[in-house]
Assembly symmetry: C2
Homo-oligomer: 432 residues x 2
């Protein structure tokens, strides 16, 4: 028979809720030395600027939340939550419990004090177990607050947060050709889980959903199987499901001037609790890939404005050559077409606005007509959506030749508070 200590006095009567309610200080004290180190100090990433390895541990407690300028990991599980009819204190309790569990899981340890197998034997395990034995795999967990957390649909200020809502946390406008599905939009809270191992990302969202039981429930969620952006100069540019390299001109973590100017909310931008935070816009973009796949290579490249193989701009050069929008070819026509994606999305066409993209390819089975339900789960971080995502997307939604091949079906915006101090949770100063 297995050796379970049914009687361990410390364990008895301690509920998951109670355990997490104790906070990270006691949590740390109750853990072995190795785990305490991992929670409190988090081992630095061994992969440097490149792609994480299985052993990579990104610090959870830091000035900024991890999962933004962190080198984009290969796999995603994104989740949006609705908060139940609970008190402000219970909301704080949930965020604290989430952060405590996130600190453990990002360090490669189980979600709770007793893990998946160490009892108490007559209670559900603290952790669901499917990541037992798996390393941290570069897991990051990034938490966000949606507009509806501050302003309920019925106009009530249920958590007393309305006065603290940043002006930059706007409700996204309706864009031309939006085909949003209500059940794939919005959410009071969001969690972005990224990892090199999908089982590690899924395990994290599952355990955080479980911890939220009775306090918040999954509204919608999305798995992404392959990154479509690099966020470090050390990473190779991946390909999206149009078969093109994506994110060649993305903001890279190494360019700290641009990161500060375009990604992090700065003092004075809005309420101080957001200083060092960012704003996340997610869009579930279904691609009509069967139509795309019947389009000529000429048309595909004209739509993008880049070559398919190398990813070079149509004005010439190689992948990282800057596009020359003034270059013309036969008959004086621009080499990079006026309605090409690369032109319309370029900072030069958008008052210098850029986005830090962190999107993922997805396939969710197929529809009744045998077409793959596939596309891009677009994720972008920015300092202010009013001057970045929104005008860029308005420009694209009106003019982009790519619109014939995409349909925006999901959407959300969240304020991403700065990182948590050790033992606290991201966004704690919003509630101070």
């Amino acid at each position: 028979m297995p050796e379970h200590d049914d009687q361990e006095p410390e364990a008895r009567g301690l509920s998951r809720r109670g355990l997490f309610g104790l906070g990270a200080g006691l949590l740390g004290a109750g853990l072995g030395a190795g785990a305490t180190f991992a929670v409190g100090q988090a081992v630095s990433a061994s992969a440097g600027g490149g792609t994480a390895t299985a052993a990579t541990v990104y610090p959870f407690y830091d000035d900024h939340q991890a999962g933004i300028v962190t080198p984009a990991q290969d796999r995603l599980h994104f989740a949006s939550f609705d908060v139940a009819d609970i008190s402000r204190d219970d909301l704080v309790g949930l965020l604290q419990d989430w952060a405590d569990a996130a600190a453990l899981m990002t360090a490669g340890t189980p979600a709770g004090r007793y893990g998946a197998v160490n009892g108490p034997y007559d209670a559900p395990p603290d952790d669901t177990g499917e990541a037992l034995g798996l390393p941290a795999s570069g897991l990051t967990l990034t938490f966000g607050f949606g507009p509806s957390l501050f302003t309920s649909a019925d106009g009530t200020d249920r958590f007393g947060l309305a006065s603290q809502r940043p002006e930059a946390l706007v409700d996204l406008p309706h864009f031309p050709a939006d085909a949003l599905v209500e059940t794939l939009t919005g959410g009071d809270l969001c969690i972005q889980a990224c990892s090199e191992d999908p089982q590690v990302a899924v395990h994290a969202i599952r355990n955080l959903s479980r911890i939220a039981f009775g306090r918040a429930a999954l509204r919608w969620s999305q798995l992404g199987f392959g990154r479509t952006s690099s966020t470090s100069t050390a990473q190779q540019t991946p390909r999206n499901l149009f078969g093109f390299k994506d994110g060649t001109a993305n903001i890279k973590a190494e360019d700290r001037t641009t990161v500060d100017a375009q990604v992090w909310a700065q003092p004075g931008d809005g309420p101080s609790w957001m200083d060092g935070g960012s704003y996340l816009v997610a869009r579930k973009i279904r691609m009509t890939i069967e139509t795309w796949d019947r389009t000529s290579l000429r048309e595909q490249e004209a739509v993008i404005g880049r070559t398919k193989g190398e990813g070079a701009p149509y004005s010439g050069g190689t992948e990282f050559t800057a596009p020359d929008f003034s270059a013309t070819g036969q008959g004086g026509k621009p080499l990079i077409a006026a309605d090409s994606h690369v032109r319309l999305a370029h900072p030069d066409q958008n008052s210098g606005a850029q986005l830090l993209r962190r999107g993922y390819n997805f396939v969710d089975g197929n529809d009744d007509l045998g077409r793959l339900n596939a596309g891009l789960f677009f994720i972008a971080y920015q300092r202010d959506p009013r001057t970045q995502f929104i005008p860029i997307q308005e420009n694209l939604a009106k003019n982009d030749a790519m619109n014939e091949y995409v349909r925006h079906v999901g959407s959300g915006i969240w304020a991403i508070p700065p990182g948590a101090r050790t033992g606290s949770f991201p966004g704690a100063s919003l509630f101070a």
Copy 2:
């Protein structure tokens, strides 16, 4: 401007269909020397009995199809197809085109002669491009024929194959508590794509679906993000979403006696075209993980009959210790409960019948109640479902304590013909 040879005479007017119709011989002749080698002789797996690396190439042309005893890769894209109202010759043409493309893709090369970027510039590319630059990543593509290919629902023998239907290719019976969704069942043809890289598996199914356009359409499909079985003694046992090690007692490729007795159809078993083939049963099993996660560790372990951490049988020992079903504890009760999964699924309780399991964990978003739509995509290969999967599942469906936590929503059975001779396709002798 990019250099595309708009005028290449060889390319002009050659449709994808026409290209594939030429067969592998000419295909090989038209390719560079490296690609010809890869198609004709396929580099052997470098990973031996263990898990594949990015560089691993499994031979497509072989005595048995790859993807059965091949060390289970980490990622899955499974697809079931319905054949359109086409002739027997067109069906043969489809299977030949699929095999030609499969030989190319499993070797790490694009799906067609001109790939994704080499023109003709005014035609759609031969390959969709998202796997450009990615290595073979241990890709295997395994093709199967469903009962409905032999016997149409309306009783017609549309392809003249009815007399060649193996008796072992039965219609699966209704099992107690089946909750099958019609749109997740059956299919005339199936393709199992397994790879270490999900983008490589998705690319393969997408390109094969595209090649089938007008001849067969996707009926249902499933992504699996993590393997739940080992098929080699060199692999570690992975965990399913119950958090338990799965497949400890699975058939391993190294046990050739058991593989021959339990996996491969032998001469005399049925029609000779199936000699060296196998039978695949797939079941989409949704787990009610929220309920499971609220169950005590004691109950979880009793349901499985093994410990959660080590995976040791409840009769004692370590993971690979054989369970002792006669061992009793307090009050003479069996240590491994009568309704435990490990007991009911064990060969000793099933007249020695075993299955080679190759299942995958899946998460397909969440339902309206905020519960993860998650579970196990069960895949089993066997010599004869009438004496293997069916009686085992009847036993489990009636008695297994695990039934409280699972719901079978998808199902299918396919005859998996033996491997293809170079330049031919799997199952060619069925049409001879």
